[in-house]
C-alpha cells in the first residue's frame, strides 16, 4: 500500500514525512525544497506501508514546473492520500483539497501549523470542516509531533469522498462558503517578525538589509570555517596523525611505490599534508581538514537563512537583475545552493517554469558558481600569504566568476529564443530558526558531503599516483602544452589538475598546491578550474536534467568562457 503526502509547497510535508517514517529529509522555510520524491516505510496496524513525500503542488490540473509534473504523475500510484494543509492559509490551501477530493481515492486532511494559526488569532472549527469535506481532518504541529498519532490512527477511517468534479470557478465559490462558516479571525497587532519581513522587501530598507545579510554571510562562513581548521582539524592532524604516519613512512623506507601511494613525496624530508599527495596524507587532509570546515560553516549559515525564510525575500529584491539573465528572482535559490554543491543546485532548478530557464540556470550554476569545497581550497591556496597571495587575489577569482555569471546569463538570455517568465511566488512568513530542523538539515548535508567526497578523493589520489608512475600524464601534458603555456601561462603539468578536476575540484586544487606555482599562475589556474568542465557528479545530474543536447551546449559555453577568462587574466595580471 502506498500513502502519499500531498499539499502546497512549504506546508510541512517533509517534516510530517520524517515524523511518520523516521527517514530524514531536508526541510526548509521556502517553497520547492522537495523536487524529487522520497520514500519511507511506516508501521500501519499489522502491516508495513510505503509513505511517499510528493513535491509541493498548488494544483493538479496544469503542472507549471517539473516538480509539479512529478507530483501529478505520482498521484496515480497512491492508494491513500494525506493532504497536508497550512491552517494559517486555509482558504488558498482548500483549492487543492477540493481537487484531491474529486480523485476517487481515500483522503485524510492534516491541518498543519495548527499552533501558528492559534498564535495568529485564526480559529478553525475542525468538526464542521470535517463535516463539510466529508473526510477526517486532524490538526497537527509537525515539528513538535503534536497530532501525528491521531493522524496515523485516522488513516484507518479514511474514506473515498463523494465529490462531483467541478470547474475552477465553482471551486472558489465553494471555498468561500467553507471558510466563511468554519473560520473566524481575531484581530491582533502585527508582530515584530511580520514588520521585519515587510522591511526586507520594501524600497528603503530591502537593499541595505540584503547587503548586511550577504556580507555577514561571507565573513561569518569564513570565520567559522577557519576557526574549525585552525583550532580543531590542524592540531588533530599535526599532533595525533602525523607521528603515526612518520612511523609508517620510516617502516616503508621513505620511498618506493607503496610509500608513494600511501604517504606520497616527502618535502624536505618531512611529511607535508598539502603537498605530499599520498592516500593517508593529502587524501585525508584535503577533505577533512581543509574542505569539511568550510562546507560545515556554509551549510550551517544557509540552513539558518533558509529556516527563518530570508531567501524568498532576496528573490523579490533580485528579480529585476535575474530578468536580465533570462531568469526570474526565484532562480537565485538554486544559484545560492550552487555555492554549496552544484548537484543539489541543478536539481533545485526544477522549481523553474520552463526549459529555457532551466538550461540557463544549469549552465550558470555549473560554470560560474564554485562549490564550497572548491572555495575552501581557493581560500587556502590563493589566500595564502606564504605564496604572496591574500584576500585581494581571492577577490580577483570571485570577481571574474561573478562577471562571467552576469555575462553568460545575459548572453544566453539574448541568444536563446523565448522570454523569461514572470515571477510569481509565495513568500513564507518569517519565523525564529527552529534548531532541530536546522541541525538535522546540516547533518544530512554534511554527511552527504563526507560520504561522497572521501571515497572519490581517495580513489582520485590513488589514480593520480598510479598514472604518474606510469608516465601517462607526461604524454597528456605534451599534447596540451600549447594551450597551457601559451594561452594560460601555466606549466604544462597543470593539465593534470584540470583532468583531475573532472573527479573533484578540491582535489585538483590540492594537486596545484604541489606544483610550485606563482600567485598569478594560481589565480589563473583556479579560475580556469572553477569554470572548466564540471566534476563528474555534476556532469551526471546535468545530463539527467537537461539532456545530452543541453549538456553539449553548456560544455561549449564552458570551454569558450573558461579559456577566455584564463587567457585574459594571464594577459592583464
Amino acid at each position: 500500500m502506498n500513502i502519499l503526502l500531498v499539499g502546497h509547497p512549504n506546508v510541512g510535508k517533509s517534516v510530517i514525512f520524517t515524523q511518520l517514517t523516521g527517514v530524514n529529509v531536508i526541510a526548509s522555510n521556502y517553497p520547492g525544497t522537495t523536487v524529487g520524491f522520497t520514500e519511507g516505510e511506516m508501521r500501519f496496524g499489522e502491516q508495513t506501508v510505503k509513505v511517499i513525500d510528493v513535491p509541493g503542488t498548488y494544483s493538479l490540473s496544469t503542472p507549471s514546473s517539473k516538480a509539479e509534473e512529478i507530483a501529478r504523475k505520482m498521484l496515480e500510484e497512491g492508494d491513500l492520500i494525506i493532504n497536508v494543509i497550512d491552517a494559517t492559509r486555509l482558504e488558498r490551501n482548500l483549492h487543492l483539497t477540493l481537487e484531491l477530493l474529486e480523485h476517487r481515492k481515500p483522503v485524510v486532511v492534516a491541518l498543519n501549523m495548527w499552533d501558528d494559526a492559534q498564535h495568529k488569532g485564526i480559529i478553525i472549527d475542525v468538526q464542521k470542516l470535517q463535516g463539510l469535506l466529508g473526510v477526517p481532518v486532524i490538526p497537527t504541529v509537525a515539528i513538535t509531533g503534536e497530532g501525528l498519532k491521531a493522524l496515523k490512527e485516522s488513516l484507518a477511517n479514511a474514506v473515498v469522498p463523494l465529490h462531483a468534479p467541478c470547474t475552477d470557478e465553482q471551486r472558489w465559490v465553494e471555498i468561500g462558503r467553507i471558510t466563511e462558516s468554519v473560520q473566524s479571525l481575531h484581530h491582533r497587532h502585527h508582530t515584530f517578525w511580520e514588520w521585519f519581513g515587510d522591511c526586507c522587501v520594501r524600497r528603503s530598507s530591502g537593499i541595505p538589509i540584503a547587503v548586511i545579510v550577504l556580507l555577514s554571510s561571507f565573513y561569518g562562513i569564513r570565520f567559522i570555517g577557519e576557526s574549525i581548521t585552525t583550532y580543531l582539524a590542524e592540531p588533530v592532524f599535526d599532533h595525533l596523525w602525523k607521528p603515526l604516519l612518520k612511523i609508517i613512512s620510516v617502516a616503508l623506507g621513505g620511498e618506493g611505490f607503496i610509500h608513494q601511494i600511501l604517504i606520497g613525496k616527502l618535502i624536505g624530508g618531512e611529511i607535508d599534508f598539502v603537498q605530499s599527495f599520498g592516500l593517508l596524507t593529502t587524501g585525508l587532509f584535503v577533505p577533512l581538514a581543509m574542505v569539511f570546515p568550510f562546507v560545515f560553516a556554509f551549510y550551517l549559515w544557509l540552513g539558518i537563512l533558509e529556516d527563518i525564510g530570508y531567501l524568498p525575500r532576496l528573490a523579490v529584491l533580485l528579480d529585476r537583475l535575474m530578468h536580465k539573465l533570462g531568469l526570474h528572482g526565484w532562480a537565485i535559490i538554486p544559484n545560492l545552493l550552487g555555492l554549496g554543491c552544484n548537484v543539489p543546485a541543478i536539481l533545485a532548478t526544477r522549481i523553474l517554469e520552463d526549459r529555457r530557464e532551466r538550461l540557463i540556470a544549469c549552465t550558470l550554476v555549473s560554470i560560474a558558481l564554485p562549490c564550497a569545497a572548491l572555495q575552501a581550497m581557493i581560500w587556502a591556496l590563493v589566500g595564502n600569504p606564504v605564496k604572496g597571495g591574500g584576500i585581494g587575489h581571492v577577490l580577483i577569482v570571485y570577481g571574474v566568476l561573478f562577471i562571467s555569471w552576469l555575462l553568460i546569463g545575459w548572453l544566453l538570455a539574448k541568444i536563446l529564443p523565448g522570454t523569461s517568465p514572470e515571477l510569481l511566488m509565495e513568500i513564507p512568513p518569517y519565523r525564529k530558526p527552529y534548531w532541530p530542523t536546522v541541525l538535522r538539515n546540516l547533518r544530512l548535508r554534511v554527511m552527504g558531503f563526507l560520504r561522497e567526497a572521501i571515497p572519490i578523493v581517495l580513489i582520485g589520489v590513488l589514480a593520480v599516483n598510479i598514472l604518474y608512475w606510469l608516465k601517462v600524464f607526461d604524454v597528456l601534458a605534451l599534447i596540451t602544452a600549447p594551450i597551457m603555456t601559451k594561452l594560460l601561462g601555466l606549466p604544462k603539468e597543470a593539465i593534470v589538475a584540470v583532468a583531475v578536476g573532472f573527479l573533484r575540484k578540491d582535489m585538483a586544487m590540492g594537486l596545484l598546491a604541489t606544483m610550485d606555482l606563482t600567485i598569478k599562475q594560481l589565480v589563473v589556474a583556479s579560475t580556469v578550474l572553477a569554470m572548466f568542465f564540471p566534476c563528474i557528479a555534476t556532469f551526471i545530474v546535468l545530463i539527467k536534467e537537461i539532456g545530452w543536447r543541453g549538456m553539449a551546449f553548456s560544455v561549449m559555453v564552458m570551454i569558450i568562457f573558461s579559456m577566455l577568462a584564463g587567457g585574459i587574466l594571464n594577459l592583464v595580471l
Binding site: S59, S64, T88, R89, G329, L424, E426, I427
Partner: protein, 78 residues
C-alpha cells in the same frame, strides 16, 4: 475607479475586477489564490522600476512580477 495593481500604494486594500491575461497566466495566478473578485492589500512596491510587487492575499504574501502585475486591474477599497 479601476487601476492597475502596480498603482496601489503600500497598505492600500483593493479588489480584483479583471485580469487581462491569457489562459496560462490566469491559471498560474488562480493556483496562488489570486482570481477575480478577491480582496488583497499591497505590502511592498518595487525597489527599482519594473520590479515585482508583494501583495497580501487571503492570509499569505505573494510576489508578482511586474509584467503580470500591470495586467491585474483592481478597484481601490477605502
Amino acid at each position: 475607479m479601476t487601476i492597475q495593481l502596480t498603482e496601489l500604494i503600500v497598505g492600500q486594500q483593493a479588489r480584483i475586477v479583471e485580469i487581462a491575461g491569457g489562459h496560462h497566466m490566469l491559471v498560474r495566478l488562480a493556483r496562488m489564490g489570486i482570481h477575480k473578485g478577491i480582496k488583497l492589500s499591497m505590502v511592498s512596491t518595487p525597489i527599482i522600476r519594473r520590479g515585482p510587487v508583494v501583495v497580501s492575499v487571503s492570509g499569505s504574501q505573494v510576489a508578482i512580477g511586474h509584467g503580470m502585475a500591470i495586467k491585474i486591474m483592481v478597484e481601490h477599497l477605502s
